[in-house]
Symmetry: C2
Amino acid sequence: MKEVVAGVDIGGTNTVFGLVDRTGNVISQGTLKTVDYPEINNFVSSLVTAIHNLVKKKDDLELIGIGIGAPNANYHRGTIEFAPNLAWKGIVPLAELIRKKIDVPVILTNDAKAAAMGEMIFGGAKNMKNFIVLTLGTGLGSGIVINGEVVYGHTGFAGELGHTTVIQGGRDCGCGRQGCYETYASASGLVRTALYMLSEMREDSMLRDIPPSELTAKKITEAAGKNDQIAMEALDYTAENIALGIANAIAFSSPEAIFLFGGLAQAGEILFEPVRSYVDQKVFPIFKGTVKILPSGVSESNAAVLGAAALVWNEMIK
Amino acid sequence: MKEVVAGVDIGGTNTVFGLVDRTGNVISQGTLKTVDYPEINNFVSSLVTAIHNLVKKKDDLELIGIGIGAPNANYHRGTIEFAPNLAWKGIVPLAELIRKKIDVPVILTNDAKAAAMGEMIFGGAKNMKNFIVLTLGTGLGSGIVINGEVVYGHTGFAGELGHTTVIQGGRDCGCGRQGCYETYASASGLVRTALYMLSEMREDSMLRDIPPSELTAKKITEAAGKNDQIAMEALDYTAENIALGIANAIAFSSPEAIFLFGGLAQAGEILFEPVRSYVDQKVFPIFKGTVKILPSGVSESNAAVLGAAALVWNEMIK
């Protein structure tokens, strides 16, 4: 029998799941439409059945656990709590509901922490004990690993670097506060910065022909790649702010590496190069040259499933 | 035989040491003048002899280890590295030098991390796994405990919260950078803020009669206690900035408590009350009400020796 773990990534629209072996191969994969299940019990039944079917489809597979990445997941309690983008309201005891149907360990955490675990078990952080993953998407998520363990803290919700303050009285944030790191250091932060540069600078720019509602981080980095001055300025300012938050994180936990992941990190060297140089400039001198700034070592397409599966594999290895 | 640990606190001027039992009693204590020993080998000889003498003076004591708090200490390597306020230059292998003379475990860390350990073993954090100690003195030191372990990170130098940036392009810091947390949130930060308020505000103030070189955090908090408007404003702004750094630290590691320690923390409720209220206002909503802001549970007079001794007791308990 070959042991496999089911990795499940619950998103607002879709739930992706797959069977992952010890070495990080995704053996088979499936999808459910999360929005089709406003009732949590129906969701759990369909998910468990779908996983069972994947396992039965191949000979000789033994399911040894289920790892789940989900928004507002509480690792300590195995619950999803007050997730604004999911139909299930209040506190959902997801791990318990699944275990009633299938007798294997079920581990739940949020997406960024699953990404950190994926990086440690299957990605670029295989031999690291201290590192941080920043997911630069619509917001900024973070998974912090210290002494080989994901940091959950007293509440289970540690690692909200996206909501540390980088500019007091700065940009309005979706959380109701101002100047949060993610309002500058994320794909949507880059869009806001480009709009600001369009207001401040007088240069021509291809961004002037795109309605703000259609402006994306991808369009801006592409324009920057074509030497569009305003796009380049926006990218530089974004890199500077990403670096400031990284410098602060380094002062906190002195990691060996910071991995950048998610939509904005796809920009590649045009982003990484200025981020590295600003980190060098901004970091407390004692840490200079001690931290690698790296792209994720897990491929974006499989990352969510691998990260979720890594939660369980990590426990098995211990 | 009663087991005791020697706790040693090496300062630029004096080195204080004492024998500490398992329950945190300081059985006996001594002092060396650090400045009398420009040669490290002489210092080690005198320190070891002095500790031996303390142990021999009482019947039935058994020395089971030596814990040391020192500036620029590297826990991983047992060294003091490039300490600007000590005569010993370069990298000093202190733990090794001591072990050559006395065969017990020697553990070395910096002052703030020793304070965190003292809090955990003998103070207010006895049953806590996740907390942070901030020492608000001339600078701001921090000792961060996550999952019951002091955070050292990849380099051994983690926990430099005093050098996270709270105001980009803000006050000049001794580290050569600008806007560091400790330039606002420390005893000397309060003095700088009072000078700023004297420049901005027109109110009468008893602080106007004190030369800036003689202005201290104590004088300012005393004036604030007498309803001196400028002193009150300075204290309020300082509390706000202390709170901002605390809110950022909470987003990082979600501790159960933050302990404030050192000169400025002596101000008591006149400082703690506004700090608590600003933390409540500034913290990411998910963490609201989850963190206690407390004075240290270790008395200031014994804290350094107890913290250093706690380093060893912690290892013995494991």
